[in-house]
Symmetry: C2
Subunit: 348 residues, 2 copies
């Protein structure tokens, strides 16, 4: 299996990306194709022991920066995203991973690889970590104004992702809404509800906001506007809670004295904390967004995965593992097959 | 000041509502009019020392239950919501508080009190507690498919709420979107952005999901669909975090031994925890949804406040305090005035 990695477009430059790619080549025995400025990548790669690893470099002279408009992928013809995706297009690689500009990656994928026939609008599908059980979440921000048909297609693609990447049999599909009842939701959600109910998918109905972390569905369907807001709100909420606790707990003289007086007790707790360490590590891994790394652009005729711009080496390594699972799961072919069945299902 | 309290429509029956209303009458010296089945309310009221308090009962023979359709307010003409709102309509009271069915309360308000002239669709406006600073959040679920004009009106009403109920000078208004840049957002959000920029409001632009808890705006504007999802997601997220920590931390034999071994340290910490207690209490109050209690139906020609169905006595007491602030803030009149200024602002 051959995974192309865009070494240039992340926030932190090629160093961390190459760290993660080398780890993946070592841990998973996968062939890695690094795309970017050859000189820079060679220098970075020379810092690693790569003997016996299957890593090569494909030169791309340009980079689309994070702040650039999506159309930069057209102007900079030799940018690392487009060069990498062309390798997929020509059958020289199986999946492409980038920590770059999401809008630019989507545009490059549309220009270079195109949509799967029958899919009107691609979507961003990822594993939702803040939940009792992992679930496929789609759309995280590609299409802010979907039609009901788009959401049904997203439900199909998310369902195939849950089944063939996460290994969940007959995944339960739910749609985010402002109430459990069938008559709740925006107009688009209410129309989608009807289409999903008569589809062959395992539709379990509306999900209220409070259901999202509960594991009530294996596939969480929503529009790219709501999905993006929820994703970023989760991030903001967690960092708010930590800051809030820290500031409020230590406020005032009493708070500070109280904290200092806790030190002996805390020291006494240290040995037992060591016993809890494996649990803490597993907990961190469960809710760590880096565990799955990149999100899949579903609906594109090729395996394109987009990671966070701030991806570190662990995140890149795990993104490559997710890309491998996507390739193994043959998601693109299954979407093509599934669309035919869905049309039968929807017409019936 | 005279506040009408719907004693019948909450999940827990009239007992807790009357507890809260009696507390409010005592703490704030406000006149309370309890609406509901006279016999039941008299019995409950007899359990309290109400001498010197200004509390009376107005009989209403029917109740709209939580599960009933909103139209039940038309069929049950003598339901406690409609009876209470008629007191507002006839100038016999200043505000109405209900812990009942949100949809039914909205319908009753539209039938009985009507909209403010110039407001097309009412919205639900509340104080957002999960934030560094309190902010007015509008809409929490009344209008799932607003037009840009509706959102601009909500921004105006939220701004007046932030200024005259929360006491924030020239409140900063932001709109929830899927990116900071002006070109990000659903079509409705992008159109609203343009209208808000040319309005006389203190518009600070798009708020990403992660900005919501940061206190970047004093008024958080969004559609009722997104608002409702975020509100309920916050609830679900916090209870998920608690459950997740508890289950994961104590998993396995090592986890359980580790926790038991922490007991001596915890005992040693007890005295210092007492010193932290005031801080913990203040923290709880800051993020406690009960601190402000009910949300205001903005756009209705009268002060109607809807609390959570599960409201307890503290929540009812604080809802009455919020209602008093709304009356003092003369929100309805200010919305009427503001609409005239806005039209000048928007036309200019």
């Amino acid at each position: 299996m051959r995974i192309v990695v865009d070494a240039m477009s992340g926030d932190h430059g090629p160093g961390v990306v190459i760290d993660g790619a080398v780890q993946a080549a070592r841990d998973f025995g996968v062939e890695i194709i690094l795309v970017g400025k050859e000189d820079a990548l060679k220098t970075e790669l020379a810092r690693h022991h790569t003997q016996g690893l299957d890593i090569r470099i494909v030169h791309a002279s340009e980079v689309v920066e994070m702040h650039e408009h999506t159309m930069a992928v057209k102007e900079k013809k030799d940018n690392s995203m487009s060069v990498g995706m062309r390798l997929l297009k020509h059958g020289e690689a199986d999946a492409f991973v980038t920590p770059g500009n999401t809008g630019a990656a989507l545009a490059a994928a549309l220009f270079t690889l195109g949509r799967i026939r029958g899919i009107d609008r691609p979507a961003i599908c990822s594993v939702w970590p803040a939940s009792m059980t992992p679930a496929a979440f789609v759309d995280l921000g590609a299409n802010t104004d979907p039609k009901p048909e788009n959401l049904v297609q997203n439900a199909l693609m998310g369902s195939l992702y849950a089944e063939h990447v996460l290994g969940i049999q007959r995944p339960r599909v739910g749609i985010v809404s402002n109430g459990e009842e069938e008559d709740k939701g925006s107009m688009v959600v209410r129309d989608t509800f009807k289409l999903l109910r008569s589809s062959p998918l395992n539709f379990v109905g509306n999900l209220e906001g409070r259901d999202i972390p509960k594991g009530k569905a294996d596939v969480i369907v929503t529009d790219g506007f709501t999905g993006n807001v929820i994703l970023k709100y989760t991030e903001g909420m967690l960092s708010f809670l930590v800051k809030f606790l820290r500031r409020q707990l230590t406020a005032g003289a009493l708070g500070k004295i109280g904290l200092v007086l806790m030190i002996p007790g805390a020291i006494l707790m240290l040995p037992s904390l060591l016993l809890l360490l494996p649990n803490v590590r597993r907990m961190r891994r469960t809710v760590d967004v880096r565990e799955y790394g990149a999100a899949l652009l579903v609906g594109i005729d090729g395996n394109v995965l987009i990671g966070h711009g701030r991806s570190d080496a662990t995140s890149i390594r795990n993104s490559i593992r997710t890309a491998m699972r996507v390739v193994d799961g043959r998601i693109v072919e299954r979407v093509k097959d599934g669309l035919q069945h869905m049309q039968i299902g929807l017409a019936a």
